[in-house]
Symmetry: C2
Subunit: 146 residues, 2 copies
């Protein structure tokens, strides 16, 4: 199992492919974010930010998490949880049919002072659409085995 | 329709009730966060942070969003989107059967300098479990009609 020392500060990886289907966009929004511009074409058309039906930002974040988890599994990395995010920005709307991918950069990797058996890895995750536009960017901390 | 002037800095509201069922916890994790401690009792039991099967933090965030959207609708407030979060902290694990609720405090409400037709409302949202423990806290900005 990979450990803290295997996380190299400055390392950048690009991976993932997640299609945001219209069905998934509407289903996620129906359950968790039922604002009109995530559910209804006409309501979205008059929204000055979206212009047409767009995915919930929480759906984009969750899809990004799925790519991160899949990539970690494929490369042998194991997380133990997360204390949270320093920031999260929704930059460009995500529309039905968009195919998302991810770039992850390790910003910091250190041993916990209070719990030396765990490490804390800080990474910037940038989510792109199929046009190469940044749709979301976040800085999150992950707990890993020290 | 309520507008920027209706958001009062310092105003605190408490609302919502969202049960995190075991089925929902596993289904969300299967789709978006398939780490072992969100899916499997035995894997969760040996995780030092969770100790037993726990919800994905993205599920907790999404459930919180649902409570925010429902409350906004009930009170006549309409958001137009969000540029993102200043911070998000996952503080206490959320376990199957937990019932979540929310406290929201308006921290700032101002007109956009670049787009005077919109307002930007910053709020701290705190999510509690049924024991009154804080499970999540975030500071988010919402776009509203000016």
């Amino acid at each position: 199992m990979k450990k803290l020392a295997d996380y190299v500060v400055g390392n950048v990886e690009r991976f993932g492919s997640h299609r945001m289907t219209r069905e998934d966009v509407i289903e996620f929004a129906s359950r968790f974010d039922p604002q009109p511009f995530h559910l209804d074409d006409l309501a979205a058309a008059v929204n000055p930010i979206f212009g047409r039906l767009a995915a919930s930002g929480w759906h984009t974040a969750s899809a990004t998490m799925r790519m991160l988890v899949d990539h970690a599994r494929q490369t042998g990395f194991t997380a133990m949880g997360s204390p949270g995010l320093k920031s999260l920005r929704w930059i460009t709307p995500v529309y039905p049919g968009d195919v998302l991918s991810v770039e992850s950069e390790i910003l910091d990797a250190r041993q916990s002072k209070s719990r030396p058996e765990i490490g804390l890895v800080e990474a910037r995750t940038t989510t792109f659409n199929q046009h190469g536009e940044t749709v979301m960017s976040m800085i999150a901390t992950t707990v890993v085995p020290a």
